[in-house]
């Protein structure tokens, strides 16, 4: 790859134009830096970027848990669709394979929930007087709420149909 202008490869769209959708006082973009464009080597991100740091790998694992959850929900929707044919048409999935898939999907869902709720205290900023509620307290409250909802749904499923 030969060297090329940095403006061609990586310069963001900073053209001095104010954005129509945002207030002018803050959002008007400043003119791009003056001077001749530097001749620079545009570095590309390799496909294996997510193997370079532990944090990247954990991020990819976190994101991929959504695939397992979506797959299980798809199976669940298939079962619901069968119910349209009445009790006779309802054939719940079962067997060792489905149980194994369900256990894997449950593990993925739990990991997804853990990573999300652990970060709740980070992204939720709740004012309390002139301070804010501590992040750790918010995360614990979230886990507590998850436990209560889980027990309530489990109780409904186990004893509600009896």
């Amino acid at each position: 790859m030969s060297p090329t202008s940095s403006r061609d490869a990586s310069q963001p769209r900073l053209d001095g134009e104010a954005r129509a959708t945002a207030p002018d006082r803050v959002s008007a973009r400043m003119p791009a830096s003056a001077g001749e464009p530097a001749i620079a080597y545009p570095v590309k991100q390799p496909f294996t970027w997510w193997t370079r740091r532990r944090g990247y790998l954990l991020y990819m694992l976190r994101e991929f848990t959504a695939v397992g959850i979506a797959a299980w929900m798809l199976l669940f929707l298939v079962q619901l669709a069968r119910m349209r044919q009445g009790a006779a048409g309802y054939q719940p999935l079962g067997g060792p394979l489905f149980v194994a898939i369900s256990i894997v999907c449950l593990a993925l869902a739990l990991w997804h929930s853990y990573t999300f709720l652990s970060l709740a205290g980070l992204f939720m900023r709740i004012p309390l007087g002139d301070r804010t509620v501590p992040a750790r307290l918010i995360a614990r409250a979230m886990f507590g709420a998850l436990a209560v909802v889980t027990v309530a749904i489990a109780g409904l499923l186990i004893w509600g149909g009896a």
């Binding site: 963001p12 900073l14 945002a22 959002s27 400043m30 620079a40 570095v43 991020y59 939720m124």
Partner: protein
């Protein structure tokens, strides 16, 4: 075990001669209290005066000497050689920026992004009135950590979104916007929120979180971005959600 020398593999790139960057090895004296920047200065003084890199304060304040050391975004003045024994230490330019020469990258895109978020106090009055604009310690605590940013750009080097979305305003600029949004003296909170929720800003972030992990000053740009996302969503859903 004592070490007499340690090898640095330094990226070399001359746009007038090289078609792509290459690594060049230098053997430098090992000192227990030396950082990578000391080793680079020794190379420039004793071995090869043509090596190019940025540096200034040598004490983690100016943010000039950002580079990738063994693949990790670091300040050259804070990366001790003793942590990389027995070597070699691979010293490369910061990732996600075009390389101008050797370890020097083109930071003009960052400077433009920084200007765009207007990292200064905006007030309603056209002229600053007499007297002080005092704040309580609690008011300062709201934004203090975001004000510690030294614009070293290591967070941009660690952010995997930047190479995919080069127009993404990025972690440091958003953290600084958040810093002024949380400042009780600033009157442009809603406007800043409008800017940050527009294109190329907070919603480009997929929350990898490594921007915060690599920050040498303990700033948490990921927190700034996620908090802004949450406030923006709350503002849409709840009538009282806006600031």
């Amino acid at each position: 075990m004592t070490h007499e020398t340690i090898t640095l593999s330094v990226t070399r790139f001359d746009p007038g001669q090289d078609s792509r960057p290459r690594l060049q090895g230098y053997e430098v004296p090992y000192r227990d209290d030396w950082v990578v920047l000391d080793a680079l200065n020794w190379i420039k003084s004793h071995l090869d005066g043509s090596v190019n890199y940025r540096w200034s304060c040598r004490m983690g304040i100016c943010g000039s000497c950002g580079m990738n050391v063994n693949g990790q975004p670091k300040l050259g003045c804070s990366a001790f050689l003793r942590d990389y024994l027995p070597g070699p230490v691979v010293v490369e330019p910061m990732a996600n920026f075009p390389i101008v020469r050797d370890l020097v990258v083109d930071i003009s895109s960052f400077l433009d992004k920084l200007r765009w978020v207007k990292p200064w106090i905006i007030r309603d009055e056209t002229a600053v009135g007499p007297g002080e604009h005092r704040q309580t310690p609690a008011q300062i605590d709201h934004y203090r950590q975001f004000s510690m940013c030294i614009n070293c750009m290591l967070c941009y080097s660690a952010c995997p979104v930047i190479p995919i979305e080069p127009e993404f305003v990025g972690p440091a600029a958003i953290a600084l916007a958040r810093r002024y949004q949380l400042d009780s003296r600033d009157h442009a909170g809603q406007e800043r929120l409008g800017t940050l929720t527009g294109s190329d800003a907070i919603w480009d972030c997929s929350f990898v979180g490594e921007c915060s992990a690599v920050c040498p000053k303990g700033v948490d740009p990921a927190k700034a971005i996620q908090q802004t996302k949450f406030e923006s969503t709350l503002g849409m859903l709840m009538p009282w959600g806006g600031r």
